[in-house]
Symmetry: C2
DNA sequence: TTTACTTATCGTAAGGTATCGATATATTGA
DNA sequence: TCAATATATCGATACCTTACGATAAGTAAA
């Protein structure tokens, strides 16, 4: 297998994009929020359902959802007393797959 | 194009994996650190070089590098007075590509 | 050995984040 | 209207993170 050489040209960075990306990653970087993302990538859930699954009080789940909605991850709609959340950011699935791929039990040392 | 239905089965979560993933994402979630990751995915740089590119003092760059090294992102080796860092985590490239893909100027509304 | 260069570490202050309990708002049904 | 359910918001607190300046440590050259 041939060794791939890295380019020596320095990639140009976009500070505004890095700032926005950092914001979104920070929002993703919480165990409960990761679980909520995983759940909502597979279906549609109300606040109380998510809270129960994550074993946190309803108001805490609600707060996590608010943060993620602010980043555009989710949208919500009320149905009767309940408010259902679902994914609104198309790239979430790809990013979550990368993360799950990395943190599978056997995911280390795929290459050099 | 057929509409893909979401599975209704609830994915089972691994709390320990979510905790570890959240740690690593938090470490990634900083504008300067994202830039450093981008640079090191394209080459090998010393602390002072990274500090200059990122427009931060050397000790701040050194601290960011220490945090990321603690997550296993990088390894370092001294050469004379300088310490060079390079990527040690194979999944970094894939994850960074996802992020760059999402935060390109035209990256919104790919589907959904 | 003395000085300069490069990186790492430490203490600290400022600002941000997570969580909790209490309370407010919205909806439904009695 | 009143009570119950479901969600959202607020104030307070504890904790964490970041950046800064000072300083230490490792290396090279004078």
């Amino acid at each position: 297998m041939a060794t791939k050489l890295k380019s020596t040209v320095k990639p140009k960075g976009n500070p505004a994009a890095f700032a926005e990306a950092a914001e979104c990653l920070k929002t993703l970087a919480h165990p409960v929020r990761l679980r909520i993302v995983q759940l909502l990538l597979h279906g549609r859930y109300a606040v109380g359902e998510l809270a129960e699954d994550c074993d946190v009080p309803d108001n805490v789940a609600s707060e996590h959802l608010r943060l993620m909605q602010r980043c555009g991850f989710f949208k919500s709609e009320r149905e009767g007393r309940r408010v259902y959340y679902q994914v609104a950011e198309p790239h979430l699935e790809e990013i979550m797959k990368c993360i799950e791929n990395r943190f599978r039990p056997d995911a280390r040392r795929t290459n050099g």
